[in-house]
């Protein structure tokens, strides 16, 4: 147990040190040197743990382990350039680090004082000088509020969280504000649910506060199921205490003493970081019967998912947290009135919670000074797909899509043309190139047929087929449908069958109209958000890429993706008879013809009856002689 006084002392002693890491440069009078290694799941798969251990042992060998600290942090966001390591006080941002590079980094940079140039994130300014990381294209347009501590602190060390004003918001709330005042502040901030639906967070807190009942719950939806989304995972892995503190503040505001974090099982590192954080908070008396000696009670437990996308829907989540099949419930009654085990339950998304402490500390006006009229604050996006810089970014609401795709994301690689950006996961829609200047906020995205969603933003280029993409999403939602209500269970399945016909070139123009009608029926009549939004990718691609659908009805797939409509052919005048294609073909569909190439070797041809259109031949041909 630590008293408030002791917590303040820890905060003060470490604050300057952590602040230096945030500035990205040395602060006068501080000789501390350290290396931050990214411990997010992405970099971990690139052996960042081994890099960390190698650094520790190399430094120890040279007797430098007391002088130079090595810290494993949360996600820096620039995942495509991982594993990432940053050396301070220089702020040298190393990318694509391998365990074998550690010796060189220690010898040349840490001991010798010269950064290892070939590993540095190589953006130079107009004078040819290496830019500070905060000035690079990737980070310049970002405003890291929710992600403020990710990549800065060690998430498994509660002292480092305390040093960045951690748990100061809770202290402020319970010592200087009434529960209603806390709720009013959240309302005034304009914060809207970051899980995707964008409901007013303050209103939700008010409903739960007003509900009758001695026992209430605060729940956190950490079942981030949208494929392509990893915002919540990064926050849980990089700054778990931020979520814990927010839930404590929520508990105070609505009158709950129990919290449940429902995490999907596919996030083992996040689960581990949460377990460590909860244990440390309990040890310091921050969770328990008399928090910080201030007289309030709150504690948390974790419940794991087991691989069901629908459990991200709030009522399905509650059923699953109760240990049952994750099927949604009728609403009303809403969880605020009747939630977990029938008690009033506040349920919010991880990223929503990620904003709370900052709102309480800095005030609602500070939060609302950023963003658009109806969408305040910042949003974390997981950029994926055909982009140079894939990874995690946090930007003010209202930032144009073009800035995200071209400036931050670095555009489509290999000179390919941008075709569409998909937001909102399987519930969302595609934004075509013609709308790339749309400022991103909740209402603008709804107006153009998409939605904010949880934050996954997948970029597609000219080689992606939009009909295939719509089918991909629908296959997912049909598979994940819980089966409880007819419009979703049967409607979406029929819709998928119709889409399948289109990709096989068996549909007519009339079928496209029928598909659209079915979409609206499913949206209007399904029980929960999964069914209601499953047709969105179809409707959105029909709206902006109807010509592509019509081409399929005429037997062509313009992007060359849908296998039934594509045939692979060897171009006779380019073939040099090297037989690489034939030797690699998994079904032996390629053989020599009677014709000879100019070098005397036999021109080869593909038997369309055997060809399974896997594309291996195209990737092996040295002359680009095979086309679709």
């Amino acid at each position: 147990m630590k008293t408030i006084q002791q917590l303040h002392e820890i905060r003060e002693s470490l604050a300057a040190k952590i602040a230096e890491r945030k500035e990205g440069a040395a602060t006068a009078g501080l000789p501390n040197r350290y290396v931050l290694v990214c411990g997010g799941t992405g970099c971990t798969s690139g052996n960042s743990k081994i890099i960390h251990d190698n650094l520790v042992s190399e430094l120890k060998e040279r007797g430098l382990d007391k002088e130079v600290q090595v810290i494993m942090t949360g996600c820096f966001g620039l995942c495509s350039k991982g594993p990432i390591a940053v050396v301070y006080p220089d702020g040298a941002f190393y990318t694509h680090v391998k365990p074998e590079d550690v010796k060189e980094i220690v010898e040349q940079h840490i001991v010798g004082g010269t950064p290892v140039e070939r590993l540095l994130h190589a953006e130079k300014d107009i004078h040819g000088q290496l830019k500070s990381i905060n000035d690079t294209d990737f980070y310049r347009s970002q405003r890291r509020v929710v992600l403020r501590n990710c990549g800065v602190i060690d998430p498994e060390n509660i002292d480092e969280y305390l040093a960045t004003d951690g748990y100061a918001a809770y202290e402020k709330a319970v010592t200087t504000m009434t529960p209603q005042q806390v709720i009013d502040e959240v309302k005034k901030s304009g914060l809207r649910g970051r899980g995707g639906a964008g409901f007013s967070t303050g209103m939700k807190w008010q409903f739960t506060h007003d509900a009758q009942g001695a026992v209430k719950y605060v729940a956190c939806n950490a079942d981030e199921g949208d494929p392509g989304a990893f915002m919540d995972r990064s926050l849980l892995e990089g700054d778990p205490h931020a979520v814990i503190e927010a839930m404590m503040i929520a508990g105070y505001a609505v009158g709950a003493e129990h919290g449940v974090i429902y995490v999907r099982a596919e996030y083992p590192i996040a689960v581990h970081r949460l377990e460590v954080a909860i244990a440390q908070a309990r040890e310091y008396g921050i969770l328990g019967d008399n928090i910080m000696g201030l007289g309030h009670k709150f504690d948390l437990e974790l419940r794991l998912g087991a691989g069901a996308f629908v459990c991200g829907e709030e009522t399905a989540l509650l059923n699953s947290a109760e240990g049952k099949r994750g099927e949604p419930r009728q609403r009303p009654p809403f969880p605020a009135i009747k939630g977990l085990f029938g008690k009033p339950t506040l349920i919010n998304n991880v990223e929503t919670y990620g904003n709370i402490a900052q709102i309480i500390l800095n005030g609602a006006d500070w939060f609302a000074s950023v963003g658009t009229e109806k969408s305040k604050g910042t949003k974390v996006f997981a950029l994926g797909g055909k982009l140079e810089n894939v990874g995690l970014v946090e930007i003010p609401m209202g930032t144009p899509l073009r800035t995200i795709v071209e400036d931050i994301g670095g555009g489509c690689p290999n000179g390919k043309k941008f075709k569409a950006a998909q937001t909102g996961g399987p519930s969302g829609g595609c934004i075509p190139a013609s709308l790339i200047d749309t400022p991103i906020d909740y209402d603008n995205l709804m107006a153009i047929g998409s939605m904010m969603g949880s934050g996954g933003l997948i970029v597609m280029d000219e080689d992606n087929c939009m009909v295939d993409i719509a089918k991909f999403f629908l296959e997912f939602t049909v598979d994940e449908s819980c089966g409880k209500c007819t419009p979703c269970r049967i409607g979406n399945k029929r819709l998928l069958e119709m889409l399948d016909k289109v990709t096989k070139g068996e549909a007519t123009l009339e079928d496209l109209d029928k598909m659209e009608e079915l979409c609206y029926y499913i949206k209007d009549n399904s029980l929960c958000g999964l069914g209601q939004t499953a047709p969105n990718p179809v409707l959105s691609t029909l709206r902006y890429f109807r010509d592509e659908y019509e081409a399929h009805c005429n037997g062509k797939c313009p992007a060359g993706v849908c296998k039934a409509l594509v045939s692979f052919k060897v171009e006779k005048d380019k073939c040099i008879g090297c037989t690489l294609c034939a030797r690699n073909c998994p079904v032996g569909a390629i053989s020599a013809t009677e014709e000879k190439a100019s070098n005397g070797r036999p021109v080869h041809a593909i038997d369309p009856k055997k060809c399974i259109k896997c594309g291996v031949c195209i990737s092996k041909c040295p002359k680009g002689a095979i086309s679709k």
């Binding site: 494929p227 990893f230 087991a306 049952k324 099949r325």
Partner: protein
Amino acid sequence: MTDEKDKQFAEVLESLKDVPGPVMMAMQKAQDIYGYLPLQVQLQIADYFGVPLATVYGIATFYSQFRLEQPGQIKIAVCLGTACYVKGSGNVIDKFSRILGVEAGHTTADGRFTLEATRCIGCCGLAPVLTVNGEVYGKVTEDSVDEILAKYNQA
């Protein structure tokens, strides 16, 4: 060996005795211990918490993580989430399927490999991604398939 597992599991059940809504947690821990959910274990859970076997079976078949059959020694899970799909993970899983001779969701006859299509695991910055017994491989290509199988066939 099995006696140890049974003992471990009995302790798990005991620890969940007074916890509200314990059935799914018991099943998750059972799978951690046994690797899957044998019918005997499902019956044991149903019995302990006083719910019908049908309820336990209903939960086991609802969630994709629960396995009702013994998995292979080497579990290859290829991510078919959007970011990975857009970058070609569909071709990667098709190639595994062709070489191993099993469809996704099944185990090879010799019990060595289980091939699964997984939901997004959140490493989209490294797409396409797959895991082998939980270890993450990023930026995989169709050539990686051969490398990975070679590595595990030698082990």
